[in-house]
Symmetry: C2
Subunit: 326 residues, 2 copies
């Protein structure tokens, strides 16, 4: 099994695969990450305080990562996926499937991760892994449930078997686009939740925001051909709830700082990890406009991050929307 | 407007009604509560640190509460509702509607609050108010959104107008049974969430529990004739998210204590407020059995609270359920 991406999530997925009996090879862009994993069996930059099984090895060479691999798990940040797939393509033997593990929408093309892959490697079988998964908890073997979604049920099942274990429970879905929209939009909504909390607006307001946020996530999903019920599942509601309630979430933490009055640039400065919701808020807002659907919360986040809007103004706008049916 | 119930929620609803322009009279069982409200304009037992508008008055006399009232808001604990409605019935003039504001299922009859009312006062028009509402936040005028659900759309709209204000936003629904099932089951799931957190199982596990909990809430709702999409709304997901994430929730706090090893009786001893999920877990479990649907999480909570089950055993049972589709 090749795991493409040496961040927290790629490393945690390698641990999961190893527990389930696979021998994972991890591709990392950063030579320091690869050598830490190979020599000290740890990834202190992205997943500190976790010891790795020595069966997990790493390389900075895509060719080496793919030799003998029966599948590739893609866990690179959304905005880098295209470049990685373009490099990966030549090493993907026919029939070797990919599992999309990153969450986001590409800002240039407004495509989901699977749509980006389909454009570049259209004949590669593909599934999506999503759901409420803080990498640090997965690495520590705390109980976690995920969605594995594919139009090809037997491919979904084979990833379920390859990754599932007592404390890492995959549930199957046949709606990959729904899983992807949920995973992308939740990062944007988590920023909004952080803002509401940082501003001291209370738990009722946060719960209402999560609920109305899910409603706009569903609207985008339906416009993209997803099924509404997917958003009640782990990749929709589950991931949304996780990301909107924990300071562990980079997106929520960003919102919290904004709500307390810090500027976006001061918060983001010097971060090594990508805060996916920042780019995705712009992509989602443009996508909503293109599909002519209303996404007031995501639009608010985009305005805060990219158009210098004031927090109090956007909150007042949200609270003064007309009454409506749910 | 008569508000029946002098607890935290009844008092907060009186504040909401007053802000929206009504003159609420609150009925309280406890003479100390009524005299505090009338003389000192506060309810220190159930809603401390909140000053009440002097327009809000209280009485222990149901007849006096209902004189001239154009509607009655019912905010008494679920297991006391039957007795209160039986006493209230004679004072309800024909056509005066009720708004159900309590959440729970009666343990004896396994009926929702509206079903109990329909049995006793079948010709009284009725609506349901539900959603993510910590009373203390509503009282402080923090932004809150709720569902008002009625089969009679014009009744729903009139309650929306009577209660809605800038920071208390009602959304309309035509699925009262869905709203009630959501409000009842979420208290049970909040106890389960508290257990998972008290046990240190992490945020991934809590998010998975909330998601799978929503799935069993939907199963019960569908069996009772509700619509699945109602559970994506404020009275379903919204209230569930609120109750499962905040130590303010009595139900979550109970679960947290259980998860840390305290016994149910030691936690509940000496409480003045009712922890709705305790009785409702038993009612929901019996209702699920009667309707032959699976509700493993609610059943686990019932087993912990009422059948001396061990926490580790029930958690292992949840984690060892067979893999399935979402």
């Amino acid at each position: 099994l090749a795991v493409i991406g040496g961040g927290a999530w790629g490393t945690a997925l390698a641990i999961v695969a190893c527990r389930a009996g696979a021998i994972p090879v991890l591709w990392a862009r950063d030579p320091d990450v690869a050598s830490s994993i190979n020599e000290r069996h740890e990834n202190p930059i992205f997943l500190p305080d976790v010891g790795l099984d020595p069966e997990i090895t790493a390389t900075t060479d895509l060719d080496a990562a793919m030799v003998g691999a029966e599948a590739a798990l893609l866990a690179v940040p959304a905005q880098f996926l295209r470049a990685v797939i373009e490099r990966l393509g030549p090493y993907l033997r026919p029939g070797i499937p990919i599992l999309q593990c990153a969450k986001g929408i590409e800002t240039g093309s407004l495509k989901t991760m699977s749509e980006v892959a389909r454009e570049i490697i259209p004949s590669t079988p593909s599934a999506v892994l999503s759901g409420p998964t803080f990498a640090a908890e997965v690495a520590r073997d705390l109980p976690t449930a995920v969605t594995i979604a594919s139009r090809d049920a037997s491919l979904g099942r084979s990833f379920m078997v390859a990754l599932g274990s007592g404390r890492f429970r995959p549930y199957l879905s046949d709606d990959p686009i729904g899983a992807e929209i949920g995973g992308a939009v939740k990062n944007v909504l988590a920023i909004a939740c952080g803002v509401v909390c940082g501003r001291g607006l209370g738990d009722n307001a946060r719960a209402a925001l999560i609920t109305r946020g899910l409603a706009e996530m569903v609207r985008l999903g339906l416009a993209k051909g997803a099924r509404a019920e997917t958003f009640r599942g782990l990749s929709g509601l589950g991931d949304l709830v996780l990301t909107c309630n924990a300071a562990q979430s980079r997106n929520y933490a960003l919102g919290l700082a904004l709500g307390r009055g810090e500027s976006p640039s001061s918060v983001l400065q010097g971060r090594r990890s990508v805060v996916e919701g920042v780019a995705t808020s712009a992509a989602v807002t443009r996508l909503a406009a293109r599909l002519t659907i209303e996404m007031p919360i995501s639009t608010m986040v985009d305005a805060l991050l990219h158009r210098d809007a004031s927090i109090d103004v956007v909150i007042d706008m949200l609270l003064s929307r007309p009454y409506r049916n749910e």
